[in-house]
């Protein structure tokens, strides 16, 4: 493990601990308005100032980090599960099943990802409570984001299919379900971990993209995308650089995730 990796992992751990303990030291609940102090600068009571509605920016940032960092791994877990099931089954069964799965994967990979998400989001009702919007965003990303992983897992499962230990298991009378669950899946486990880890930063960015467009997590629930919604007003951001805090945190976390990715020799 290189020192850069260690630093990134430490940073991620610190951020995780901070957001788990956020309730203890946030200045105020994320939706509480201080109506006499809208758009205030940093002060001891509000270390990052307040937003246009007078809500404390630091508490919104902490709770937003919580939402984003919970949502992305959840979506990554769902998409990796789908990809693991489809990919290993397709690679293991082979024949027409594999061909159908791969053609379907190629077809959905050819669709523009963000346009597809916008379309699916527009199909669902937009005026929903914040908690429902979080669930919808997570389900949507998880159910639509499995294609790239399926291809990788399918290729690996195809290699396992012709292996000697699978021949031995088959000759001793294993049923296909047992072969798949006890012999194929455990051998692809490191690949599943890698795919899960790779998709987390991707889903963090997608969630931020959707929320910045007002189609992800709904107000008053904060998330990184929501907190960055005021950025189109460049002069206001230039005058109040502390408003860039969510962007800085997003960049740092995504970079840390990329740095601590499992290395080649682990995934092979």
């Amino acid at each position: 493990m290189s020192s850069l990796k260690k630093i990134a992992a430490t940073l991620l751990c610190i951020i995780l601990i901070v957001i788990v303990l956020a309730t203890i030291f946030v200045p105020a609940p994320y939706a509480q308005q201080f109506r006499e102090l809208p758009n205030a600068g940093p002060s001891t009571a509000h270390p990052l100032g307040t937003d246009a509605l007078g809500r404390d920016s630091l508490s919104r940032l902490l709770y937003g980090t919580r939402v984003s960092l919970l949502l992305a791994p959840a979506a990554a877990l769902l998409s990796t599960l789908i990809a693991a099931l489809l990919g290993s089954a397709a690679g293991f069964v082979g024949g027409w099943f594999e061909r159908i799965v791969l053609v379907a994967t190629d077809l959905s990979l050819a669709l523009p990802w963000l346009f597809l998400l916008l379309t699916v989001r527009a199909l669902l009702p937009l005026d929903v409570p914040p908690v429902v919007s979080v669930t919808v965003a997570f389900l949507m990303m998880g159910l639509l984001g499995w294609q790239a992983s399926v291809r990788v897992i399918c290729a690996a499962a195809r290699g396992v299919r012709d292996s000697d230990y699978l021949l031995l298991a088959r000759s001793s009378g294993c049923k296909p379900a047992r072969l798949l669950l006890r012999h194929v899946a455990p051998n692809l486990r490191s690949l599943f971990y890698a795919q899960f880890w790779i998709s987390i930063p991707l889903f963090i960015l997608t969630e931020a993209n959707l929320s910045i467009l007002g189609l992800g997590v709904m107000e008053p629930m904060p998330s990184w995308g929501n907190l960055m919604r005021g950025f189109e007003d460049f002069s206001a951001v230039a005058a109040n650089p502390w408003k860039l805090a969510p962007l800085v945190l997003l960049v740092v976390v995504v970079m840390c995730f990329q740095l601590v990715l499992p290395s080649e020799e682990v995934t092979q």
């Binding site: 523009p112 346009f115 916008l118 527009a122 937009l126 993209n209 950025f231």
Partner: protein, 108 residues
């Protein structure tokens, strides 16, 4: 840029070709297929990035149109937009594929 280490480049250099000629005639054709494949993929990234960029910078375009259509739940518009962008991406990917194959055929 692993292509610079290959023996045919060394041979070209030994024959006294200049750097520019080696790059154009011996390195670029070999490196072209993966670069072209990358070009096809970057189309998808570019179209995806158009949505937040156009929404943030308030400049009219396909991305902003799709955004407003999604916010107003204008389903026919956004479905057809997605379809149109998919067609453009399909064309770009196919062209990159054909060009890549042509290059691969030339070098073999």
């Amino acid at each position: 840029m692993r292509s610079y280490d290959q023996p045919h480049v060394l041979a070209a250099r030994a024959r006294g070709l200049r750097t520019g000629a080696i790059f154009l005639r011996h390195v670029l054709p070999v490196a072209a297929p993966p670069l072209l494949a990358l070009l096809g993929v970057s189309f998808a990234i570019a179209f995806g990035a158009a949505i937040p960029i156009e929404a943030l910078c308030d400049s009219p375009g396909l991305g902003q149109l799709a955004w407003h259509a999604a916010l107003n739940r204008d389903l026919p518009l956004i479905v057809n937009l997605t379809f149109a962008v998919s067609l453009v991406m399909l064309a770009a990917n196919s062209l990159a594929d054909i060009a890549g194959r042509a290059f691969a055929g030339n070098t073999q």
